[in-house]
């Protein structure tokens, strides 16, 4: 459709541009400006140049929270991809049992993060939790799921996987349904077995779906906050302080608006970089 006037597309886009300007661009620019100030919300802001960036680098806070976020993200993306695909393949069939399994797995996705947090607080309690009791029943030693600096970030990642796998499964199911059956049938006629068909036909055709699942899981793990707030409050010893939680702590716990803003700016750069890499990967796959 050709616009009747040159300005027409802008008019049509204006509500969204306005919303993006107010709720995205303005806060981002404001955070960028504030990142050069020392400000506690109470006394007048003081220009400090790059001191906030230097402070979060020198304290090791940036690297540790970025490292934790990336660790959780890698585990979440890998886990949700593998589990989501496996479950989708298992329940991609007609019948009541498969339908029930699909609904049961997806139900976790619609539970609120707060309920998930409280639920897993009990499940992973070191002394009275279901997991450690089950391990004790099997004669195995329990673990400090939430109070060990090594295990706590992995526990958080496991919980996120539990929550988002249902969504990954549904997306893979829609991807499987969209695959032309004749391709698989042709491979079968050529003598390809189920494993070979999965490996050489189904999985390559599901690559765009997998890329979508990876992106949504990555976003979910980068936005992680609620479950950390409820389960560990960033601890023990900052081992679950992901980037968003670090921003929250700087702003609301420590009254350091400038440092929180510096973290916001860095967070934005990291996300922009990841999005750029993802776009590049997508474009590289497109036929010339």
């Amino acid at each position: 459709m050709k616009p009747s006037r040159p300005a027409q597309p802008w008019w049509l886009l204006s509500p969204m541009l306005l919303a993006l300007g107010i709720f995205f661009l303005y806060p981002l620019l404001s955070a960028f400006k504030t990142s050069f100030y020392e400000w506690d919300l109470l006394t007048p802001p003081r220009f400090v140049g790059l001191a906030n960036y230097r402070a979060i680098l020198a304290s090791g806070e940036l690297l540790s929270s970025l490292g934790t976020t990336l660790l959780v993200s890698v585990v979440v993306v890998t886990g949700s991809l593998v589990l989501g695909l496996a479950l989708a393949l298992a329940v991609h069939r007609p019948g009541r049992v498969a339908a029930l399994a699909r609904s049961a797995v997806f139900s976790a996705y619609v539970v609120s993060w707060v309920s998930v947090g409280l639920l897993f607080l009990w499940i992973f309690d070191a002394d009275a939790g279901v997991v450690n009791r089950a391990l004790a029943w099997l004669g195995m030693p329990g673990a400090k799921w939430l109070t060990s600096t090594t295990l706590a970030p992995l526990t958080v990642a496991l919980i996120v996987i539990w929550k988002v796998t249902g969504y990954a499964m549904v997306v893979f199911l829609s991807g499987l349904s969209a695959l032309p059956p004749e391709v698989s049938e042709a491979a079968a006629l050529d003598g390809a077995g189920p494993v070979s068909r999965l490996r050489h036909v189904t999985l390559p055709l599901l690559r765009p779906t997998a890329a979508f699942v990876a992106t949504t899981s990555l976003i979910a793990s980068f936005q992680l906050f609620d479950v950390v707030r409820l389960l560990t409050q960033g601890g023990p010893v900052r081992s679950t302080t992901v980037l968003v939680y670090a921003i929250y702590e700087q702003l609301f716990r420590d009254l350091r608006v400038g440092r929180a803003s510096a973290l916001v700016v860095i967070f934005f750069v990291v996300l922009a970089l990841l999005s750029w890499l993802k776009l590049r990967a997508f474009r590289a796959e497109e036929p010339a």
Partner: protein, 414 residues
């Protein structure tokens, strides 16, 4: 449009949300917002007192708005202050009072009618709560004040003697530990560490302002915790701040821990919820007896309109009258903050019937005031708290941990 305008818009939105709860003031009354951070039973008790005040006169209507826990409430209050949309009345933890006073956001109360005739418990008013508090303009009044105390499961504790020293505490914890139940539990929290520092003969900040974090006493406090954890007789609850406190209460109630350190504010809750008799005990002595005070102080916010501040002051005066103050204390477990309220509880036989409520009061003679240090809350939240966790969970050398904390704390105190 500057950041203030943006914050104002945010605060206006939250104010609108708060105003949607159907508690609009009756016609002709002056509505006075009061931001509070008491949950559960304590919240219900406060709301009873608010209703009583609102019913007792026809000029002022207190609108009590719940704002989460102490630290969430403080974060909201600061945002509202920045947006010049703060309520006239709220309450804040002691550690942040010097900072707020230095920022000039607290209303001086000296000139308010009767401000110096309230006959407050001397260990809990501004002068008693802070070193140097008497020499500064009056900016806070106590209401929900507390000290840490010990709670024991009387069924498991039996007729043992209460532990009076650290060694006896260690021994009792060992005796009470059995399969599925730790003998002792304590949140790895600044407040309890400060109690141990005092008991070991140190101070977090010296009266001259030097941040020593207790010196050798600070190290001894951490080492004491470490020894209890290493022997498997002390439970460290997961989580931080009040999440850890709440978790420990649940462990105590479920008989997974036989003896805990917690605030006197939980007396009523634990007594009513436990399936077993609960006994409160004073904290043991190290080289001396010492407990920090906790809870919060009332503050009037300078930025509020004058008539709202004056109306809020009338409400504060009402709460500090003997009957409401005694009611608040007896319904919650917080300390009675006026001498008249304490005398009323004593005379009515309340303490004779409920001795657990008297434990914190009896500890007040050894209560250690907080330093009037602007950086105190940062020392607490940023410097000490995370390092206590590191020392306990990563078995780090307490001396090195505190030396590192001291260097950072000196910076924060400036």
């Amino acid at each position: 449009m500057d950041r203030r305008a943006f914050l104002l818009a945010s605060a206006a939105l939250s104010g609108t949300a708060a105003g949607c709860d159907g508690r609009a003031e009756p016609a002709g009354r002056l509505a006075v917002p009061f931001w509070f951070t008491y949950g559960g039973r304590n919240r219900a008790t406060l709301e009873k007192l608010v209703a009583r005040f609102n019913a007792a006169q026809n000029e002022i209507w207190i609108q009590a708005v719940f704002q989460g826990d102490y630290f969430e409430g403080l974060a909201k209050l600061r945002t509202a202050l920045a947006a010049r949309a703060a309520p006239p009345l709220s309450h804040v933890v002691g550690e942040v009072v010097p900072y707020l006073a230095a920022a000039g956001v607290l209303e001086p109360l000296d000139e308010y009618p009767g401000a110096h005739e309230l006959a407050l418990e001397p260990r809990l008013d501004q002068a008693g709560s802070f070193h140097g508090g008497a020499e500064r303009p009056l900016v806070v009044l106590p209401f929900n004040r507390s000290t840490p105390i010990a709670y024991v499961n009387a069924r498991l504790f039996g007729d043992r003697e209460p532990p009076r020293t650290w060694d006896e505490l260690r021994q009792t914890a060992r005796q009470l530990t059995r399969s599925g139940c730790f003998g002792f539990g304590c949140p790895i929290d600044w407040w309890y560490w400060a109690a141990l520092v005092g008991q070991a003969g140190g101070r977090v900040v010296e009266p001259d302002g030097r941040v020593t974090l207790g010196g050798a006493a600070g190290v001894a406090a951490i080492a004491f915790w470490q020894s209890l954890v290493q022997r498997g007789v002390m439970k460290q609850p997961p989580g931080r701040d009040y999440n850890a406190w709440e978790q420990l209460s649940q462990d105590f109630l479920a008989e997974r821990v036989a003896m805990i350190w917690s605030s006197t504010a939980f007396v009523r809750y634990l007594e009513e919820t436990a399936d077993f008799p609960v006994r409160a005990l004073p904290l043991p002595h190290g080289v001396r007896g010492s407990v920090p005070t906790g809870g919060t102080h009332f503050v009037l916010l300078k930025s509020a309109p004058r008539e709202l501040k004056q109306a809020a002051w009338r409400f504060v005066r009402f709460l500090l009258e003997p009957e409401p103050a005694a009611f608040w204390s007896s319904e919650t477990g917080y300390l009675p903050v006026t001498l008249a309220a304490a005398a009323r509880l004593e005379a009515s036989g309340f303490y004779a019937k409920h001795p657990n409520y008297r434990v914190a009061l009896a500890q007040l003679p050894v209560a250690e005031p907080w330093p009037w240090s602007k950086g105190l809350f940062r020392i607490q939240r940023e410097v000490v708290q995370p390092r206590l966790e590191a020392a306990l969970l990563e078995h780090r050398d307490p001396e090195r941990v505190l030396a590192e904390a001291r260097a950072l704390a000196e910076e924060s105190a400036l």
